[in-house]
Amino acid sequence: MEFGLNQFKEFITEYAQRLEELKSTLNELDNRIGDGDHGTNMARGFQVANQQLQAKNPTDIGTACNTVAMALLGNVGGASGPLYGTIFMKLASVFKEKLSVDDEMLLNGFLFAKNGIIERGKAQYGDKTMLDVWETATSFLQSNVGTNRYRDLMTVVQEAVLETRDRVAKKGRAAYLGPRSAGTCDPGSVSSGLFFEVFVRALDGEGAIIRWETLVL
């Protein structure tokens, strides 16, 4: 599989659009165990990212990732701003000057991104943060090499998102709720699940649309 510059741009455009659609779902989850702004934050940030991508029209994926990273860092705020900003900065460093990236490079990018989340957020797997999804996604990709791995990725990611529901948060704002944080899916995990949903579709043009609003609420 190859992932080209245009696919990347489509990916961002669609992710921004899906975030807008799921804004109130993400806000609602964050309301239950946080402060109710995760949907607003993400939708705002990726709308700007998408606009800047159109405006600057970068000619390689690395630069495109950087444009997105800068837009997120400057427009998301909260915990998710630095974290998603870091994700795209790390992707930028791996995809530097590339017009298109292959499976291996993609995996490498995601691994770098995941490690970026850990460095910045100091969370561990199981802490009920977006890292839970990134850990699951990257380790699946790492250990499953084969034609269907991107479609199957979605099954795995979806499960990872839903698995955050019963966990007690150990990092982020939800952690202050203690045991009361159990019972609600982590909003950042949902936005990261959505990230992979849209990515898979951008990659092979077909991946399913997941009805997160019914799954996670």
């Binding site: 806000n27 702004d37 860092l73 400057g74 998301v76 909260g78 701003g81 630095p82 957020g121 202050y176």
Partner: protein
């Protein structure tokens, strides 16, 4: 959602404009959500901030003897690093800048990234992280406690130290001392509604309250039934003094902070009992602040903060300030 608003995405911008036009001593840094003192003096700069929705924090504490700059993010959303950097850059007078950060993942990450940016530009930046909320037991989680209303004491005392001409290292030491000696805990009678979200942050029955809340409309550590003002004050005070080593004769400052919709009369009623509790404990109350300092939009409820004082802290607590939201 019933609010006095215009376009929701202009909430913070219009708020800052309305604030600046009422306070001639403040200036908005062009193109940012940063407010700074119009007249900066050659001293250590102090920057604080966080999401909006905590008014009068943080901009209300900008003035001589308190902050030099305040950064406002979207409602309840930590400001982005470029905004924090703009504040640092603007207030820096060559003597370094102290960041006063409340311990929330988002605040810490964004402020630290800004500090890195500033350091890369050769600005001397120190930081203090306030984690005064005793609602969360320290041991359970590695993230540490939240920063809530006690932060205002850090603004005041570190601000006075900076105004007195102390070095960044000294101002930092004093700010650190305040954070080590201040404890707070809050409770809510009603939720609040983030304008961009439109829904109440939680639902409570007529006689239910949330105990141990943060300042972003989050639910607290537990939901209980509403007790009397006295019993509520006693509970929060008990949690605080259990955590803060105090002995008879110690001097303290008290803050009874309204969350946004609590009538001042109720805060006075709370303080009426806090005064009893401190005197039972034989604490000497050097100063009591009652009012709105660190709010959560239109949430009803309050937080109680106790700061253990020594001579140095007392001196700076009592020093004059021109910040509009610090009471006379």
């Amino acid at each position: 959602m019933k609010k006095l608003v215009n376009e929701l995405d202009q909430y913070v911008t219009e708020m800052l404009n309305g604030l600046v036009s009422a306070n001639p001593s403040l200036r908005r840094v062009e193109g940012t959500q940063v407010l700074v003192r119009r007249e900066l003096s050659a001293k250590v700069g102090l920057v604080s901030g966080g999401g909006s929705g905590h008014e009068p924090a943080h901009a209300g504490f900008v003035g001589t003897g308190m902050l030099d700059g305040a950064v406002s993010g979207e409602v309840f959303t930590s400001p982005t690093p470029d905004q924090v950097y703009a504040a640092i850059n603007e207030v820096n007078q060559g003597k370094g800048v102290l960041l006063i950060i409340k311990n929330y993942t988002g605040d810490v990450m964004n402020f630290e990234m800004a500090a890195d940016m500033a350091r890369a530009e050769g600005i001397d930046v120190a930081q203090v992280i306030v984690a005064d909320d005793v609602a969360v037991e320290n041991s359970t989680y590695t993230i540490g406690r939240r920063g809530i209303a006690g932060t205002v004491f850090v603004h005041k005392i570190a601000g006075a130290a900076a105004e007195a001409g102390l070095s960044l290292q000294e101002v930092h030491r004093i700010a650190q001392k305040v954070t080590e000696n201040v404890r707070s805990m809050g409770m809510a009678l009603t939720p609040c509604t983030v304008p961009a979200n439109g829904k109440p942050s939680f639902d409570l029955e007529e006689q239910e309250v949330e105990i141990g809340i943060g300042i972003h409309g989050e639910p607290g550590i537990e939901r209980t039934s509403l007790q009397s003002a006295n019993a509520t004050a006693e509970f929060l005070f008990g949690k605080i003094v259990n955590d803060l080593p105090l002995t008879s004769g110690d001097e303290v400052a008290i803050m009874v902070n309204g969350m946004g919709a609590t009538p001042l009369s109720e805060l006075f009623i709370v303080n009426h009992h806090v005064a009893d509790l401190t005197s039972e404990k034989k604490l000497k109350v050097h100063k009591t602040l009652i009012g709105e300092f660190m709010t959560s939009l239109e949430m009803a409820g309050f937080s109680l903060s106790v700061l253990k004082l020594d001579e140095e802290l007392k001196k700076f607590l009592d020093a004059p300030t021109s910040a509009p939201a610090w009471p006379r």
